[in-house]
Symmetry: C2
Subunit: 203 residues, 2 copies
DNA sequence: TAGTCACATGAAGCTGAATTCACATTCATG
DNA sequence: CATGAATGTGAATTCAGCTTCATGTGACTA
């Protein structure tokens, strides 16, 4: 976590630093991202950096936390409010759309997030361990519940299907992130996608 | 590319080095993998390493080349032989099964490959640039052809669908790689998966 | 004015990993 | 054996990044 000094900074300066950090980690994986890069981009002195953060790892953990929180907000909107009354596939649609909206509005954060998820760096593995309950296991629960409820057919492997859905979700975000010019298309693609998945999974 | 001296080595020694390298790069991403690790695991002197390779990057490029070649062999078996006469979904099934078989028989190579695909390291991006025609674009071609042929419905986005299929393929390999004990289940899962995809994509 | 506090600064130091290099050893050949 | 070309070796060097530290600055208080 950042030190008190960081929080005491003016919002302008705080944002300049955060912005620089987001740039640096969006463009590079954890190892390739340099504290030096953040320092140069934000225009602070190297010494100052260590007055605000315990070091590179500290900054990175902080960033990941921010990203998670911000992404959750997008999902919350539609899903968390209407917990288990929604049809599984409508829920999925909402989840994906939330994810996409997040990706569209925060491409740099998605870049960092994708990297974080796939990285074999100790730091990333460490952080992920502490938040396993999220994502994959969340999907798995949803699926098991959907089977019980009768939305989804019985003869599928919940663990694999969870992985499958998560992975497709990432592919989606990635796709949106890579191809800039398809804002209108996007939601159509998602609907198609869910239809594909639905026709394969429903009872 | 390795230097002449490497090729002159006895097969035993060559393999010891390759094995060590595969271990090191399977356990760590490009930046975290150390030449020192390879040196220690293979029991050669650090100086010798530089007599065989131009350095870390050189070794890595060589490894990736080996992996690609080896994976292609698995796909070739069923697909390349019967090029465009197969129904798209049968072809897909063969591709996935080839991928899975490769993953089952070469888990360490899959680990390196996954890392390679996702990495933002300059070296990886560099290598990928040089082989773009593969994978994604290969799928895209297949899909366009399948649409023309009438196997696949018209109103899908080929680029996205290609990304989708590639990503699912990776999820599959990942899944197999992570969960050791499901050899018998595996092919069933793939069939289910293809059925899901087929019911969503076919005309 | 002097004292103190919070923050700023960048040169200097530290660290770990890649690479080099001077010397040692092996081995085929005459 | 003698020779030298190829190969092996690991301590020393280099280098890039992270981190520390001694010192500077300005604002507020007594």
């Amino acid at each position: 976590m950042p030190k008190e000094t960081f929080y005491n900074l003016s919002d302008v300066k705080k944002n300049k630093i955060l912005d620089a950090a987001i740039d640096e980690f969006a463009e590079n994986d954890y190892h390739q991202a340099n504290v030096t890069g953040v320092i140069e981009k934000s225009g602070i002195a190297s010494g100052s950096f260590y007055q605000y953060f315990d070091g590179k790892k500290d900054l990175y953990k902080y960033l990941i936390g921010i990203i998670l929180k911000r992404k959750l907000k997008y999902l919350n909107k539609e899903v968390m409010n209407s917990p288990e009354q929604l049809n599984f596939f409508d829920l999925l649609r909402q989840l994906y759309k939330g994810g996409i909206q997040f990706a569209e509005e925060n491409p740099r954060l998605v870049a960092i997030g994708n990297n974080f998820i796939n990285s074999k760096s100790k730091v990333c593995i460490d952080i992920r361990e502490k938040q396993k309950p999220m994502s994959n296991q969340y999907f798995e629960k949803l699926i098991k519940y959907a089977i019980k409820k009768g939305d989804v057919k019985k003869d599928i492997d919940p663990a694999f299907t969870a992985k499958f859905l998560t992975s497709v979700n990432y592919a989606l975000s990635d796709f949106i992130y890579a191809e800039e010019g398809l804002k209108e298309n996007t939601m159509v693609i998602i609907d198609d996608l869910i239809n594909i998945i639905e026709s394969g999974l429903k009872k």
